[in-house]
Amino acid sequence: MDDVVPAGEGALFAFQAVSVGDPSAPILSAVTATVPATGITVVAGPSGAGKTTLLRLCNRLEVPSAGRVLLRGRDVATLDVLALRRRVGMVFQQPVLFGGTVRDNLRVAAPAADDATYARALELAALDAAMLDRDAAGLSGGEAQRACLARTLVTQPEVLLLDEPTSSLDAGPRRIFETAARSLADRGVPVLWVTHDEEQLRRLADFLLMLARGTVVSSGAAATVEGQPRGG
């Protein structure tokens, strides 16, 4: 299977022979792959395949034991890590909100921003601006995860990493979150979405990166990857 884009120029992320973990039991083993700079790239594979680790390499919450990860052609290890993490936003599997109101949460990400900026981030995450004064602890699961998305968006990231963000949500809130992510991708914010849900993969993937046991088993435009037709 060919890479979607050649490594280096044009690719959003390029993984070059990336390994993570003890060589005797690696989490990722010499992974070479690229992620395009547009649309939604779904990272799929069974549990324990190394999907989350691959995602965490992109914002340096994880570091490779061998190989390099490039962001737009530059080794992420050479970039200022704090600036990198603001460029590469991440939403985790379980919604994690800090104490206080939704506004307090957004303020953690962007202390100097005003309410209009916060409201805009909420809107992009399919939440109403009136949510700003809500106690974060009182939000439903779907609202909480979208508040996490808004908190990430308020730093104006140029790419989004979503680590199974809807795995704990019911069908309704899951669809709302997916629509919000699709809309962000259409506005030019590429998304890396980890999932093990095949239906979700079909709904969302423009590009696909399939992992198994720490290696890439297939990658490419979703419509072309064997056995993974793009659903409507």
Partner: protein, 260 residues
């Protein structure tokens, strides 16, 4: 001033150890042996310390012996912290640093401001109060911070993923830790005199010192302990934050303490 307790008095007080042993036997606690060993050991240690202190605190002996005693005490205390907080990485050098900082701050203030004269008979007991009383809080601070960061890893990583530096990301957990470690000492300070009569004051009164003089000494000791506890816990917690995050702002893997 001469103490009123002679050897016969000490032997008589052992009947109280017998009470503890009796309670253990009556309720099937199986602590009899441990109680006897603890009592004998305490008595032995105190006698050795008494003899050694008599030598060290001799007014004709150079003050350097007193400071060496303090250094030894600090090293012992740091080792106790290490044994009581085995799951905390690198806690021994941090505890040493914490007690050293607490000594500099508190003894520096007490002697620098002329509250007590710098003599063997003041340096050793004050340093003992300082180290002994801040040891528990230091253990609590070290263990609690590791526990907070380990159990709230998801929250901490969410903060890091937003671009917060590790010091900022750890701040809420650091504050909670220090509050937990310091609160007992603050409560003790509040209740002193009303609920209990603390050791230094009790000892002075038993030794025949005027209660008002004893109270003034106790007040200084309480403030010394409060200051040293605050200093030692802050140093150990700030040092741990540096130890528990990598230079590129990742939280290191943290183990749970072994069971039992």
């Amino acid at each position: 001033m001469a103490g009123d307790v002679n050897a016969a008095g000490v032997v008589a007080s052992l009947t109280l150890v017998a009470v503890a042993v009796a309670v253990s036997r009556w309720r099937g606690l199986r602590l009899e042996r441990a109680i006897v060993v603890a009592a004998v050991r305490a008595l032995g240690q105190l006698l050795v310390v008494g003899v050694a202190l008599t030598l060290v605190l001799d007014p004709d002996r150079p003050l350097v012996w007193s400071w060496l005693w303090v250094a030894g005490m600090t090293a012992f205390a740091a080792d106790i912290v290490r044994r009581r907080a085995p799951e905390v990485p690198g806690v021994l050098p941090l505890a040493l640093l914490a007690f050293a900082a607490a000594a500099v701050v508190t003894l520096g203030a007490i002697f620098g401001l002329g509250v007590f004269p710098v003599e063997g008979r003041t340096v050793v007991p004050l340093a003992g109060m300082m180290v002994g009383n801040s040891m528990n809080a230091t253990v609590v601070a070290a263990r609690r911070l590791v526990e907070e960061l380990r159990d709230r890893r998801a929250e901490v990583e969410a903060r890091l993923a937003l671009g917060q530096p590790s010091g900022t990301a750890a701040r809420p957990y650091l504050a909670r830790t220090l509050r937990t470690a310091l609160t007992p000492q603050v409560e003790t300070t509040k209740a002193v005199g009303l609920v209990f009569l603390p050791g230094a004051m009790t000892g002075l009164i038993l030794a025949g010192v005027d209660p008002l003089d004893a109270v003034l000494v106790q007040a200084v000791v309480m403030f010394l302990v409060l200051g040293s506890t605050a200093t030692a816990t802050t140093v150990v917690a700030l040092g741990l934050v540096r130890r528990l995050f990598t230079p590129d702002h990742r939280l290191v893997p943290l183990l749970r303490p072994a069971e039992g």
